[in-house]
Symmetry: C2
Subunit: 143 residues, 2 copies
Amino acid sequence: MILEKKKTFNNFAASKGLRSTRQRDIILDYFLATRQHVSVEELYLKIKSAHPGIGSATVYRTLKLFVEAGLAREVLLHDGQTRYEHVMAGEHHDHLVCTGCNAIIEFENETIEHLQDEIAARHGFLIRNHKLEIYGLCANCRG
Amino acid sequence: MILEKKKTFNNFAASKGLRSTRQRDIILDYFLATRQHVSVEELYLKIKSAHPGIGSATVYRTLKLFVEAGLAREVLLHDGQTRYEHVMAGEHHDHLVCTGCNAIIEFENETIEHLQDEIAARHGFLIRNHKLEIYGLCANCRG
DNA sequence: AAGCAATTGAAAATGAATATCAAAAGCAGG
DNA sequence: CCTGCTTTTGATATTCATTTTCAATTGCTT
């Protein structure tokens, strides 16, 4: 599915007349290799250790392209940094965020998705994406 | 219910050993008088026109107190500003956010709330609050 | 009224994100 | 493989929301 995503990005780039560059390839590789919710800074530091030449501005710019291309999604947690997560085809996961230890538990619930569709339809609203975050204390932290 | 909220804040202040100040009273009045999703800047400007002495740092500080006191909730939209909305006892509304015109439509759905409780229970998670935002185009903007 | 700690306002500091711009790199067409 | 044109990049400066700092003020207790 990594090839799949690279193809998606290439198609997007082609359709927008964007050029294919070494940096974008590298950043995409690193982004695809991460797990959930990388901040730009985190991704930048990882990349920098292997590719010192790449600047953080490029990482910022490129992640925004990934969002446009439909590969990534912005996640705003409460730590003052914009984070990015993968957009999986079809599937959509939401988050339980522990305010004690910052653990993030992902879950999926079809019924909730359906209800959202209904609500949107009722308002003539066309859904592009959504975000559901539940804040509280995880099993460990509720002590 | 405004008196209710003032009392809630006073109780909180008392329990934390916080002092009662003119500024906090004023800021609370203005916050309670706002409708949904005030940014700190917006609230500060409103207050400043009638009370020029009050500084923005105090508004920032005080809104965080309201969150601690359970009166307010942070809402992170995608405009780079932290916004605050009222916490209504029991009820919880979520948002349809139009990426075309930035309109925000609020809705409530009991079933979704229930499902969230179930999911949390399944993970031994204790819910403090949650946030559901659906992004897309409103009826006007989907043209 | 006096003393002490919390609070405030102004200004400086921080920090994420964006804009600027000259140099470098991609992509034609010849 | 050059040439010329445009996009992209990296470094730096800039912006802007938020936080911190700190001296002065204020609230509270005795």
